[in-house]
């Protein structure tokens, strides 16, 4: 926790200086100079525990901690013809420790795999024609950790309806990934030092439509088609067969996922908001799931709100899952990863948001201070906790 707050406030101090330079526009005139519109600093601390690690074949500690810090800077410029150009620069860094990856070498008690750092920068550009209600966006991203490299690109198009009450969006994303094939130590060829590599490609098509129903209610329908191909197993996941032999996890080299979601936000009275979300998901590995989420922000004053939330999730397991020691050589594909097993989960917690008009703690451009805590329980006896902090400058 200390580390989150120290890193959060160090970044805050850094960007407070930057934010002070942003002049407040009190007229309708839109500056044609590129200016910082918003800076977001988000820090999170995540911890989990359980006893079904996939690295040790569905048994063993799942203890993991992750500290994540991201900074997101949004820059805006207005063109001569009323076009709004938005540039978004984001960078994130995670440091995680994992008891399960430490067990890639079963005799190690703190091997090179026990912790790692992930770095994930991204850049995006959005061109909005305000008169026509039309926007076009492009973006690139990357994610790097010791055994995994990912490069992403996306393209999006949005069109508002004539009355500006509805908006249609189409988005296409691709992720081109490379992973090092780190095998469990007992399955490595004697004398082999290097790792092989394999590729994994993901293509995502998204269609969404949002509609304002009345002055208090708006909804959004969203659907994705996600197609993955390449090496979709994880090389250091062990699977113990009924005969006692140990194998690397083996999954099909293609996967098609179809999630469909609906969101609604309803302003009830003057101080209460209902935010609801439902998602149905199906894929060709045999997983079907339902997700229902309800969050109720309560505005206690003009500047302070509390948001209790609850999320329920249920999934059927993949047809390729069996627990420790139950797979046989007759199985074409096999995994003992409990993330792909049949389970239900609940996630509940509370958010707190402070947005005083004069700035947080009187700091003029410090627009928002937000803190959120959630507790997650899964019927496979895995539990986790997450606390996040968002500091926004405008």
């Amino acid at each position: 926790m200390k580390r989150i707050f120290i890193s959060g406030f160090a970044l805050l101090a850094l960007f407070q200086l930057k934010a002070q330079n942003v002049a407040k526009d009190t007229t309708n005139y839109e500056s044609r100079k590129l200016k910082v519109e918003e800076v977001n600093l988000v820090s999170s601390y995540y911890t989990q525990d359980g006893n079904n690690s996939a690295v040790t074949g569905g048994i063993g500690s799942e203890h993991l901690t992750d500290i994540a810090n991201t900074i997101d800077v949004k820059l805006v410029k207005y063109g001569q013809t009323g076009i709004r150009h938005t540039f978004d620069v984001e960078a994130g860094i995670d440091h995680y420790t994992s008891a399960s990856s430490d067990m890639i070498d079963l005799s190690a008690n703190s091997s090179a795999s026990s912790s790692d750092i992930r770095f994930y920068p991204s850049l995006s550009y959005l061109r909005e024609n305000i008169d026509k209600g039309r926007s076009l966006g492009i973006g690139v991203s990357s994610s790097s950790e010791f055994d995994y490299q990912s490069f992403g690109a996306n393209l999006s198009f949005s069109q508002k309806t004539k009355d500006r009450n509805g908006e249609f969006t189409a988005k296409f994303q691709t992720f081109i990934d490379q992973l090092k094939l780190i095998e469990p130590i007992e399955l490595r060829t004697y004398g082999s030092e290097g790792y092989g590599t394999a590729g994994r490609n993901t293509f995502v098509g998204t269609l969404s439509y949002s509609q304002i129903i009345n002055k208090e209610l708006q909804i959004m329908l969203v659907g994705d088609i996600i197609s993955q191909s390449g090496y979709l197993s994880l090389p250091f996941h062990r699977v113990y067969f009924a005969d006692g032999s140990v194998h690397q996890e083996k999954m099909p080299d293609t996967r098609l996922k179809i999630p469909l979601g609906i969101r609604a936000s309803y302003f009830l009275g003057d101080n209460l908001i209902l935010r609801a979300y439902y998602r149905y998901y199906t894929d060709d590995w045999g997983i079907n799931s339902h997700t229902a989420d309800l969050e109720i922000p309560v505005k206690l004053t003009q500047a302070f709100s509390l948001s209790p939330f609850y999320r329920y999730y249920t999934q059927s397991g993949t047809k390729y899952f069996k627990p420790y020691g139950e797979h046989t050589s007759a199985d074409e594909f096999y995994t003992s990863n409990y993330d792909l097993s049949k389970f239900n989960s609940g996630f509940f917690g509370m958010g707190m948001k402070l947005t005083p008009p004069e700035g947080v703690f009187g700091v003029k451009h410090w627009n928002t201070l937000e803190l959120r805590y959630g507790h997650y329980t899964r019927t496979t006896n895995m539990v986790s906790d997450i606390v996040s902090l968002n500091i926004k400058f405008r």
Binding site: Q48, Q211, F267, R275, Y313
Partner: protein
Amino acid sequence: MKKTNQKRLLLACGIVLSTMLFASCSPVKEYQKGKINDSEMVLSNRKIEKTELSFQSYREGASGANSGKSGGGCGCN
């Protein structure tokens, strides 16, 4: 009830509900959007939910349709 029938029933309910909602739309002018434009009414995920969405996509078989992570990066531990 068979799974395929459940899916059809769910789909039919979704279509009926969506049709009823869209049919009840009343045009809202810009100056009437005070509540709709409130920051808590946003239909996308908020910045503070970013890490939550990531861990959910790692710890659960399902992902997507929530503006969260649907690919890229490992998160496999």
